[in-house]
């Protein structure tokens, strides 16, 4: 693989500005070669009409979307915030309302489906938040006060059938056995 393609992959994955030194360390090539390859990358992105561009500021460099795509990129982020919640998202809200706080693996045990993206979206929308407690090195999540308020309850105890559902044996068993 070309050095400039390798640098592109690194900058893409890290999604933040990186210094020439750091890059040079990662690819075990000297700073001069990295500078040269970044120049090539910049030109390649331009000439191939890529949707991304390389921005440089002193020692720091970052891969970002092309300025001409700014409008649609804003729309993407807006949609992520305002789009209708999917069934998996609503399910996750239901578990966390009744049985929270829980860690991601615990939520996944109950839902039976990977939930990384869902948690990310619910966090972004302020419907859930990371709690102070951690369990087995994992952060725990619970619904926000604002969400409880929104559905017109003052806390989980006010949810319908709270006691029966919170301690439901199937859920407890899933948390204990299906690990």
């Amino acid at each position: 693989m070309n050095l400039n393609s390798l640098l592109e992959a690194i900058l893409f994955a890290s999604a933040q500005p990186m210094s020439i030194n750091k890059l040079s360390e990662l690819v075990t090539r000297d700073a001069k070669e990295v500078e040269q390859a970044l120049e090539e990358l910049k030109e390649r992105l331009e000439s191939s009409e890529s949707g991304t561009v390389l921005v440089r500021s002193g020692q720091m460099t970052e891969l970002v979307t092309h300025p001409e795509a700014a409008g649609v990129v804003r729309a993407v982020l807006k949609q992520e915030l305002h789009g209708e919640l999917t069934k998996p998202s609503l399910e996750t809200l239901a578990i966390l309302s009744y049985r929270g706080p829980l860690t991601r693996p615990e939520i996944e045990q109950i839902r039976g489906v990977q939930s990384t993206m869902i948690l990310r979206n619910l966090l972004l929308r302020g419907l859930i938040e990371q709690k102070e407690d951690t369990r087995l090195g994992q952060p725990t999540f619970g619904v926000t006060v604002a969400f409880f308020k929104h559905i017109g309850v003052s806390g989980p105890e006010d949810l319908p059938d709270y006691l029966a559902l919170r301690g439901h044996s199937a859920v407890e068993q899933a948390l204990q056995e299906l690990v």
């Binding site: 933040q16 609503l90 309302s97 039976g112 302020g126 419907l127 926000t144 017109g152 319908p160 299906l178």
Partner: protein
């Protein structure tokens, strides 16, 4: 027998069956299925405790089908609706082999460690807004929670329901054995006299010789020209 040492680890009944056939360098045919019936049944019996309880029923289904095939080779008149049902073992095994081989190739690819990675997600605005879904109520949350519980229940009940299923199939195999041995304890003379004509008699006799050779059937004869007694030796 050679397979006893070779096969230590198997994932499912078809995996075991395929390993047995391949360890004998056989192709997948109805004849080779008959040849591996005994080691298959033996291995399932010996590994009863090691096979996951939820998988045992599936091993027994294949064992029952094999014993049935073998019994049918001996007694073409034998018929069992339950065991005739479903795919024939030969087709099923061929198809399984296709995917088992594809899986091996995918495993090779995985070993290379050439994974692709997504871009790290970093939210643009760190301050969180509050954007709730419209029309959500406590009742809806309860219903969603209940749905999840309903999804979990069959999974949690799996070991128990599988053990029950295994018992049913074991009974089935027993029934089959009893029927076959009853039919077989009939004498050789009667076995042959069931043949419609001379041609069929020869075929039956050859089939019997083959079964004796494969040690499915043992033969006893008390004296010259005395009636030959047959016993089935395949068991589960």
């Amino acid at each position: 027998m050679a397979y006893e040492v070779k096969i230590e680890h198997f994932e499912g009944p078809l995996d075991l069956l395929l390993q047995l056939i391949e360890s004998e360098k056989l192709d997948i045919t109805s004849v080779s299925l008959l040849q591996v019936t005994e080691p298959f049944v033996k291995l399932v019996r010996e590994n009863h405790g090691k096979i996951a309880p939820e998988d045992l029923a599936d091993f027994l289904v294949v064992a029952a089908k094999l014993v049935y095939l073998k019994s049918k080779a001996l007694l073409p008149s034998l018929h069992d609706d339950d065991l005739e049902e479903g795919p024939d073992l030969e087709t099923q095994l061929r198809l399984y082999k296709t995917f088992a081989e594809a899986a091996l190739k995918i495993a090779e690819m995985e070993k290379l460690g050439r994974s692709s990675y997504a871009r790290t997600y970093r939210p643009l605005k760190p301050e969180v807004s509050f954007i709730p879904p419209e029309g959500i109520t406590g009742e809806m949350l309860r219903e969603l929670y209940r749905q999840m519980v309903r999804r979990l229940e069959p999974i949690l009940a799996l070991p128990k329901s599988s053990i029950e299923r295994a018992v049913t199939i074991e009974e089935k195999i027993d029934q089959l054995r009893t029927r076959v041995s009853k039919l077989l304890q009939s004498s050789f003379h009667r076995f042959l006299s069931e043949s419609q004509d001379r041609h069929e008699m020869v075929v039956s006799f050859l089939a019997l010789l083959e079964l004796v050779k494969q040690r499915i059937v043992s033969v006893e004869q008390e004296g010259h020209f005395a009636d030959i007694r047959l016993h089935i030796t395949t068991s589960v």
